[in-house]
């Protein structure tokens, strides 16, 4: 069973730290360092690796829409654009899902599946007091990489990559310092002399 502490302890072994942590909130030096880097490292790894098991689909929550939309056309002729509408030239503005690390694709619900004439749907991530998603697709569904928080849900290869990533970040503060260059050369000579 994979745990945060288990992964941190494996990383500590890699950097050669002499002891393990019992809990990430215990307050020891390695636990404080691990706590600082855990979330950002995990999210960065999810974003880079894009594991298939972390993909989710969610029907987005509509925040704003352009006026008088008729079959993909908005009619602004009755008034000027203001911030109550989505950024031009988009038709819809949706809420960015809270657990979304990386939006991948906008889908539309079709009446029949499977779809034999697939068509791409464009979108853009933007900022409008909060992170939002702009698209021209009504009732949009977003496929995205979600933050899967529990390491027990991770595949083993991802957990292994996380150990490596945590160890790399811990190396600076907790790792054994390599001996100075001159010292190393002397050691090498000593070893060679036998």
């Amino acid at each position: 069973m994979a745990t945060i502490e288990g992964i941190v302890n494996q990383a500590l072994d890699i950097v050669g730290y002499p002891s393990h942590i019992g809990n990430i909130y215990e307050g020891s030096k390695p636990s404080i360092i691990a706590l600082n880097l855990w979330g950002t490292t995990r999210d960065a790894l999810f974003t880079a690796a894009q594991p298939v098991w972390a993909k989710r689909d969610l029907r987005l929550v509509l925040l704003k829409s352009a006026p008088n939309i008729n079959n993909g056309w908005a009619d602004y002729s009755s008034g000027l654009w203001d911030s109550s509408y989505p950024t031009l030239p988009w038709l819809y503005e949706y809420e960015y899902p809270a657990d979304c690390l990386l939006p991948l694709q906008i889908k539309v619900q079709t009446n029949f599946v499977p779809v034999y004439r697939p068509r791409p749907r464009s979108y853009r991530v933007s900022f409008d007091s909060q992170k939002v998603i702009l698209t021209n697709t009504p009732d949009a569904i977003l496929s995205y990489i979600a933050a899967v928080l529990d390491p027990d849900d991770w595949y083993d290869d991802f957990a292994e990559a996380m150990v490596e990533a945590v160890a790399k970040k811990m190396q600076m503060e907790l790792g054994k310092s390599p001996p100075p260059r001159a010292q190393q050369q002397e050691d090498d000579r000593g070893n060679a002399a036998g």
Binding site: N71, R117, P118, P120
Partner: protein, 253 residues
């Protein structure tokens, strides 16, 4: 289970050593790229030859008649007499032929047409864009040849014109094997640069798969040409005129 577009894309990705996709909407880099090019590439392949498997024949829908006998609209670009709607599934119009229709009933059904078998005689026609707006609420956005400003039309002097055209066949199980191979190789060539990270290698893969696609296309055309009894769908006009009798004498084109 029927073959899906995602299966064809996976086949194409396999040719360039890329990972398969789960479905065409799975959000992977490969699926996003494939989604952009799938439909256009399929249409391009359909237009590359007069494929037997995509041959369709229908009586065209009359939009306008200069005399106003069979349609309320009477404006037709000169020098043509009838204007017909471009079939919604049409990729390429092959020819329009004369079925000897002398009139149409109130439902638009032909009257007086020739009884089979008869000699198929092509008639002049032209595909044109006409300033005939489509309502915004219609499905113009998913039908080739339709826009809010204009419509692609077929102009001819033939009443109740019957058209033979290449229709889009969306279902992979309907494609002949060689067409599928050519399409898959073309997809591979187009996906290589965006899916394979080593761009030098990707360029080689692209060129290799483009060559495979070209050769497969030639093979597919040959196979298609050898299928069936007829070598060509219609006689060239100059042959028709050379061998035609008095029945062609009064025609002005």
């Amino acid at each position: 289970m029927a073959t899906l577009p995602a299966d064809v894309i996976t086949e194409a990705l396999g040719e360039i050593g890329a990972d398969e996709i789960g479905d065409i909407d799975d959000g992977s880099r490969a699926s996003i790229r494939a989604l952009r090019i799938y439909d256009t590439t399929l249409r391009e392949m359909h237009a590359a030859a007069h494929w037997n498997f995509a041959r369709r024949q229908i009586q065209l829908y009359l939009l306008a008649d200069t005399q106003g006998l069979y349609a309320t609209e009477t404006v037709v670009p000169l020098p043509w007499q009838y204007m017909y709607e471009w079939p919604t599934d049409c990729v390429q119009m092959r020819f329009v032929f004369c079925a000897g229709v002398t009139a149409m009933d109130a439902d638009g059904n032909p009257i007086g047409q020739l009884i089979a078998p008869f000699r198929q005689r092509p008639v002049p026609f032209i595909v044109s864009d006409y300033l005939r707006p489509n309502p915004i609420e219609s499905s113009w956005d998913v039908i080739e040849g339709h826009s809010p400003e204009s419509t692609r039309v077929v102009l001819t002097n033939e009443l109740a014109a019957t058209a033979v055209y290449t229709g889009i066949v969306q279902y992979p199980d309907m494609w002949p094997p060689l067409f599928r191979r050519a399409f898959s190789a073309l997809l591979s060539a187009r996906l290589a640069m965006s899916v394979v990270s080593d761009k030098k290698f990707a360029a080689q893969l692209r060129d290799t798969n483009q060559n495979i696609a070209d050769k497969a296309l030639i093979e597919a055309r040959v196979r298609d040409g050898n299928e069936g009894w007829t070598i060509v769908d219609h006689e060239a006009d100059w042959i028709t005129y050379r061998s035609g009798g008095p029945e062609y004498g009064n025609e002005t084109y």
